[in-house]
């Protein structure tokens, strides 16, 4: 349903000013939208009323010439005007009026009013009031935006909420609320193109306007409001939301530009740190200081990798949240956006005790658990390096953290997790494999026949758990919560599909590595 733009004849006839009158005919035309109310001494074909107008005709002034009422109906119909209001009929206008009204579907309403001009003026004010209110609201919003009185998404949402006296919020693509109070969408539809959309599936109308930072891109945000107001209130809300969405797009785009600029500076610096050799470079140290960071003392590198629908834009958008979550978990230090996640470090003037790393790993793991909890389309795994001194040490620690996060991802069947380089131990030997593109494509080729017949991944998971359980069907059955015969049966089918024999240790090792590789590659 489209929000009605204008009042209809039916609406107008409910006016308190017309309560004493009656409809003579033309019911079929009651839903025509009204543009204006005009007073006419006569309605002639030479000077037809404007399209969409309701014509008020003072019948008392027509005297004997009541044929002019018939003529008026005809002219109104021909000109696209929508209704005739006959006022003060001293004599009955006769049965032809009803018939003509029905024939031409022009509602004819009669009322004794006395002052025709006053009646028309009242109806006009009533009709135009929503337009005036609408214009005032739009003007206020425009003024607020144009004079930069609000500069944040919260400010924009507040302007709309205050003007309409209802909740409004800005929601990201993953339905995380960015500004304003949360509005429950449930199963209702949001706008899927670059247009305003109203979902009427529930009693209250759910308005949504998509916001794409770059025109033509998929919408990254939605401005959402729920309204139970009148048609005119909904029309005003829709206009304000469209205006707000346009302004939000500029705010968000400018925030994006700033974030990208900052991120670029950080990533450039990170790359320089990673390239550092034995000698500390004074230039890098200066830049680190300029960004408010420090590398003096002992530095523990961190690496967070995201998998799922992720790109550099998404990482930028999630940057503030990740900072916040790590901060809340007690992890404070530089955090640098990469295309698939973040790198960072924690600095400590004194050497951290050897047994302190589990605390850091737990803190990061809990932060990531919260993070993936609100972004269900992502997985996040972190790695933590050993503490080392100075810039050169930081480089080492960052490399260790990267290896640890990769291993964590590879072995992790959970949506999030964290691992310290020392927890990985001999598994670091696998890094060479995991980092290899050739091995990634080989792993795919090996498992391809199984993936093709196993769209939900049940067989693959059974294979992986079976191998991890030292080829014990009983142990795997416990982990998978199925009967051991089921495990045995599935493994037999896997062997059949892949054309392998698991009695061969090399085959087992290859398949186990290939399964790990799939975690990384997903």
């Amino acid at each position: 349903m489209v929000v009605t733009r204008r009042a209809t004849v039916r609406h107008l006839l409910t006016s308190p000013h017309l309560r004493a009158g009656s409809l003579l005919g033309g019911e079929a035309g009651l839903d025509a939208p009204i543009g204006d109310v005009i007073v006419r001494a006569r309605v002639e074909p030479e000077l037809p009323p404007i399209e969409g107008s309701v014509v008020v005709l003072d019948v008392e002034r027509l005297g004997d010439h009541l044929y002019q009422v018939d003529q008026a109906i005809r002219v109104i119909s021909d000109s696209g005007a929508v209704a005739l209001l006959i006022v003060n009929q001293a004599r009955d206008v006769g049965p032809s009026v009803r018939r003509l009204a029905n024939r031409f579907e022009v509602p004819v309403f009669e009322i004794d009013s006395g002052d025709v001009m006053a009646l028309a003026q009242s109806l006009r004010s009533e009709l135009l009031f929503p337009d005036i209110e609408h214009a005032a609201a739009v003007d206020h919003a425009l003024d607020s935006f144009d004079r930069r009185l609000v500069l944040t998404p919260d400010g924009v949402v507040d302007v709309i909420s205050d003007l309409m006296n209802m909740d409004c919020c800005l929601m990201a693509a993953d339905r995380v609320v960015i500004a304003g109070p949360r509005i429950e969408i449930g199963g209702r539809r949001l706008a899927d193109s670059n247009h305003h959309y109203v979902d009427h599936s529930l009693e209250s109308a759910l308005h949504s306007v998509p916001i794409a930072i770059v025109p033509g891109e998929e919408p990254a945000y939605w401005l959402i409001a729920e309204s139970e107001g009148s048609d005119s209130a909904q029309r005003t809300l829709a206009s304000l939301m469209r205006l707000g969405a346009w302004y939000l797009a500029t705010i968000l785009a400018s925030a994006r530009v700033n974030a990208e600029r900052d991120a670029r500076r950080r990533i450039t610096l990170l790359n320089e740190i990673l390239d550092t050799t034995e000698v500390s470079e004074a230039g890098i140290a200066n830049q680190i200081t300029a960004l408010g960071w420090t590398t003096t003392g002992w530095n523990t590198g961190l690496n967070i990798q995201l998998r799922g629908s992720v790109d550099s834009g998404r990482v930028l958008n999630l940057h503030a949240e990740m900072r916040q979550r790590l901060g809340d978990a007690g992890i404070d230090g530089p955090l640098i956006e990469r295309t698939d996640g973040w790198s960072g470090w924690i600095s400590d003037p004194k050497e951290p005790p050897v047994d302190s790393y589990p605390t850091i790993v737990r803190s990061i793991a809990s932060a990531l658990t919260g993070f993936v909890g609100s972004h269900s389309d992502l997985t996040a795994h972190a790695g933590v390096g050993r503490p080392h001194t100075e810039l050169v040490g930081l480089r080492r620690s960052l490399s260790e953290a990267r290896e640890a996060s990769m291993i964590s991802h590879a072995r992790g069947r959970e949506a999030s997790g964290a691992a310290h380089i020392d927890q990985i131990g001999v598994q670091r030997i696998l890094m060479g494999w995991f980092a290899s593109e050739d091995f990634a494509s080989f792993a795919h080729t090996v498992l391809e026949p199984l993936i093709a017949v196993d769209p939900d991944g049940q067989m693959l998971r059974t294979l992986e758990v079976y191998l991890d359980a030292n080829c014990s069907a009983t142990a795997a059955a416990v982990k998978l919560d199925v009967h051991r015969n089921t495990v045995a049966n599935r493994v037999e089918r896997v062997c059949l599909v892949l054309g392998v024999r698991l009695e061969d240790p090399e085959t087992r090792l290859s398949l186990q590595l290939a399964c790990r590789m799939l975690h990384l590659d997903r």
């Binding site: 006569r42 004997d64 010439h65 044929y67 049965p95 003509l100």
Partner: protein, 355 residues
């Protein structure tokens, strides 16, 4: 046609009622008077104006007043001859023929009865070839002929002659006299020579009226194709067949005004509205003016094909409405000012008949 005799009376009366276009006065009494005059004085000779000596005097007679009064106040019969004689005496010249001012309604037949009584021929011409409520509404006015001097006579012997400067004043003075004399009187106006009549009058009116009457008689007799022949010969257009659903009669400003509303027999939402001031003047179909004065709006009973006068219309009558073109002599400069819709107070343009 050289003579009008008893056999022509019915057709002439039928044609006159049709040309009365709803008004013109009920020709019934006039028909009786014409019958009596012919029985008493013999057939009336019909002459063409062109066949008369150009300088010979032609005088008219007509009944003037209110149609509703004329229905009840039957003419004595003496006032018509008296009116002509008064004017002839004033002019000092005897008339060579009698003329009908309006061939339409009662005033078609009364001059014939008068001609019979006076032993004069009736001239085959008139000034309207339809009925109009006012003296000045003639083609003679358009031709610049004066309605005066004119005489007004009543049944008691009162007579007066007016000299007037304009035809509108002639109407005003005559109307004032008539109001005092009982609203059913004889008038003799537009005294003219045969030459003037040839130049400015509508020729052949009496024969046209009689012809229409005969055509309608054929229709009434149910002859095959008669209705179409009637429409073709009279160049009429059939507009509407409907039932009277509303009738509003009122007398204002000296006119019998009424509004007749018909509902179409096949489609209840189609309506025709006919505005009447003595005669049918405007017909609106669904709010749009489709026939306007000076063209004729005639209503006929849809079963008997009798032309219907406004006074006799009743709720529930089933009627055929036709539009008939006015005499071509009307189509000269000044026509709409004199007899167009605005001359009767309707702020509408003249509408040509289709076809």
């Amino acid at each position: 046609m050289d003579q009008l005799n008893l056999d022509d009376i019915e057709a002439l009366a039928l044609g006159a009622t049709l040309l009365g276009t709803g008004g013109g006065g009920d020709p019934y009494i006039a028909k009786l008077m014409m019958r009596q005059a012919i029985e008493e004085f013999g057939p009336v000779e019909v002459v063409e104006a062109v066949d008369l000596p150009p300088n010979s005097l032609i005088l008219s007679t007509a009944i003037i007043g209110a149609p509703t009064v004329i229905l009840e106040k039957i003419p004595a019969g003496t006032e018509f001859v008296a009116g002509i004689r008064s004017l002839a005496a004033y002019l000092g010249k005897e008339p060579a023929a009698v003329m009908a001012i309006e061939v339409g309604g009662a005033n078609t037949l009364l001059p014939i009865a008068t001609a019979a009584e006076m032993g004069l021929p009736i001239v085959n011409a008139d000034g309207m070839r339809r009925a109009y409520p006012q003296i000045e509404m003639t083609v003679f006015t358009l031709g610049g002929l004066s309605a005066g001097p004119l005489s007004v006579a009543d049944e008691k012997g009162n007579r007066c002659v007016f000299e007037t400067t304009t035809n509108q004043i002639a109407e005003t003075l005559a109307r004032t006299a008539v109001i005092q004399l009982g609203l059913a009187n004889a008038i003799s106006c537009y005294p003219m020579t045969a030459g003037q009549l040839v130049e400015h009058g509508i020729q052949g009116s009496i024969t046209y009226c009689t012809r229409l009457g005969h055509l309608l008689e054929d229709v009434k007799a149910g002859r095959e194709g008669a209705w179409q022949t009637f429409l073709d010969e009279s160049e009429s257009v059939e507009f509407f067949t409907g039932k009277v659903i509303d009738l509003d009669r009122r007398t204002t400003e000296g006119f019998a005004r009424s509004t007749v509303i018909l509902e179409h027999l096949d489609d209840g939402n189609r309506t025709m509205r006919i505005e009447v001031q003595n005669e049918n003047l405007i017909a609106f179909e669904d709010g749009e003016a489709v026939i306007t004065t000076p063209n004729l709006i005639c209503m006929l009973d849809s079963e008997t094909y009798d032309p219907i006068t406004t006074e006799s219309i009743a709720y529930g009558n089933r009627l055929i409405v036709i539009g008939m073109p006015c005499a071509p002599e009307w189509h000269v400069e000044g026509m709409l000012d004199l007899v167009g819709p605005r001359a009767f107070g309707y702020d509408l343009d003249f509408v040509e008949l289709p076809g």
